[in-house]
């Protein structure tokens, strides 16, 4: 330091040190601000994923949007904020795909493909193993194929969003086709993947009804947990067809037809 002062003068060395200190301060400020943004983003993402675990879709999207605001280049934050039912999500995904690091682009591309299928489109086939297998399976289902077993490669598992979506579509397809074994299998998948889904109690009732080893009493007590209403009645009517051996439990619970009794003639 003394040599520097002797060579350049104390004033010049002081100014140089001040400049260096200023630059270091700016760098520290930028690092601090980035750390703050990252911290806030991770907190919001945590809240979004906690909401997703309880299947609170509105809270998930709200916290996801906040996380995406803090972490624009983080695919997990961007994806959780996406509402697949919204056609405008296509532009959100396209922007996200440009922002995220190259190695994370396949994650966004898979959600983009899912969005296309959801809106009746036909995505290309350029995804990684597990994701591509799910997308191909969903495409077949969209074309009216029966919900056969979903075959996945041993390595490279699919993303949760794709698996959860596929489980719901598979169950719906099996329900519409009316094949007992397919309904039982897909109800089981849905129960394991999404036990907090709002309709999971109904899915469990279907699973119990179609499992021969389950006693009528256990099935009956589960049915009583389901909230009364049109949705329950529709499930019961369908189960009468699918599982006639449960009619002793189902018949007393089915909606009665005809005019309400007036009590006249008693």
């Amino acid at each position: 330091m003394k040599a520097l002062i002797d060579q350049w003068g104390a004033r010049n060395v002081g100014i140089a040190m001040l400049v260096v200190a200023f630059l270091v301060l700016i760098a520290a400020g930028m690092i601090g601000w980035e750390a703050f943004q990252r911290g806030m983003g991770i907190l919001a993402l945590d809240r979004a994923q906690a909401a997703a675990l309880t299947d609170d879709r509105l809270a998930t999207v709200a916290h996801g949007r906040e996380a995406a605001g803090w972490l624009p280049a983080e695919p997990a934050a961007g994806i959780i904020a996406i509402d697949l039912s919204n056609p405008a999500a296509k532009e959100q995904l396209a922007r996200l795909e440009l922002r995220v690091p190259a190695k994370q682009r396949p994650i966004v591309a898979a959600i983009y493909a899912l969005h296309q299928i959801h809106h009746g489109g036909k995505p290309g086939s350029s995804l990684a193993g597990g994701d591509q297998a799910v997308i191909s399976h969903l495409l077949k289902l969209a074309q009216g194929a029966k919900p056969e077993a979903l075959t996945l490669p041993d390595s490279d598992p699919p993303q949760a969003t794709l698996l959860n979506y596929a489980a719901q579509v598979r169950f719906r397809a099996a329900w519409n086709v009316g094949e007992r074994e397919a309904i039982r299998a897909t109800a089981g998948e849905l129960r394991l993947l999404m036990p907090k889904h709002p309709d999971i109690k109904g899915v469990e009732a279907v699973l119990l009804a179609l499992t021969p080893s389950v006693a009528d009493a256990a099935f009956g007590s589960h049915i009583n947990v389901l909230p009364r209403g049109t949705r329950r009645d529709l499930v019961l009517l369908k189960l009468m067809t699918l599982a006639p051996e449960r009619s002793a439990v189902l018949k007393p619970l089915l909606p009665t037809t005809g005019l309400p009794t007036t009590g006249a003639g008693k």
Binding site: I42, L45, D46, R47, Q49, A50, A51, A52, L53, T54, A76, G130, L152, D154, S155, D156, P157, P158, Q159, A160, L162, L163, A167, A187, G188, E189, R191, L192, L193, M194, P195, K196, L207, L208, T211, S213, V214
Partner: protein
């Protein structure tokens, strides 16, 4: 001078690791006998790819105090096949010895999604049978052992 700074830095890191404990909520009953302990050492430095089946794990299901601490074991890793057979969990066709009997009819198999763990505890409260496979962000850390 630099040696002292480096030593101080490592000292702080080691102290943080040693002091990193998770408080067991009062009345916690999802893992047998765990409530006898007041807190557990928690290693939060475990990389996601380093998890193994059977590891004792702590996870959170939300920011509220009663959902922030859950304990159990890793039953399955991403890509593993999980199913329920005869009241027990099977992973890749092998029966998992942990946890009480599962009150579900036979169901599955499913594949554990990417960046997710399938965790299980004694009473299946707040574990993957109750909330589904857990994302990496829900995992708080690894414990040495659980009763």
């Amino acid at each position: 001078m630099y040696a002292i700074l480096v030593a101080a830095f490592y000292g702080v890191v080691l102290a943080m690791k040693a002091l990193s404990r998770v408080q067991v909520p009062s009345g916690y009953s999802d893992v047998e006998n765990l409530a006898e302990y007041t807190s557990y050492r928690l290693d939060q430095t475990v990389a996601f790819t380093a998890w193994k089946p059977g590891d004792a794990v702590c996870w959170r299901l939300g920011p509220d105090a009663d959902r922030a601490v859950n304990f159990g074991w890793v039953a399955a890793l991403p890509g593993d096949r999980v199913q329920v057979r005869d009241g027990h969990l099977e992973v890749n066709g092998q029966r998992n010895a942990k946890g009480d009997v599962i009150l579900l009819p036979d169901c599955g198999p499913i594949r554990v999604p990417d960046r997710h763990l399938f965790v299980i505890n004694h009473r299946h409260q707040g574990d993957s049978l109750a909330v589904g496979p857990l994302p990496a962000s829900a995992i708080r850390g690894r414990m040495g052992s659980l009763p």
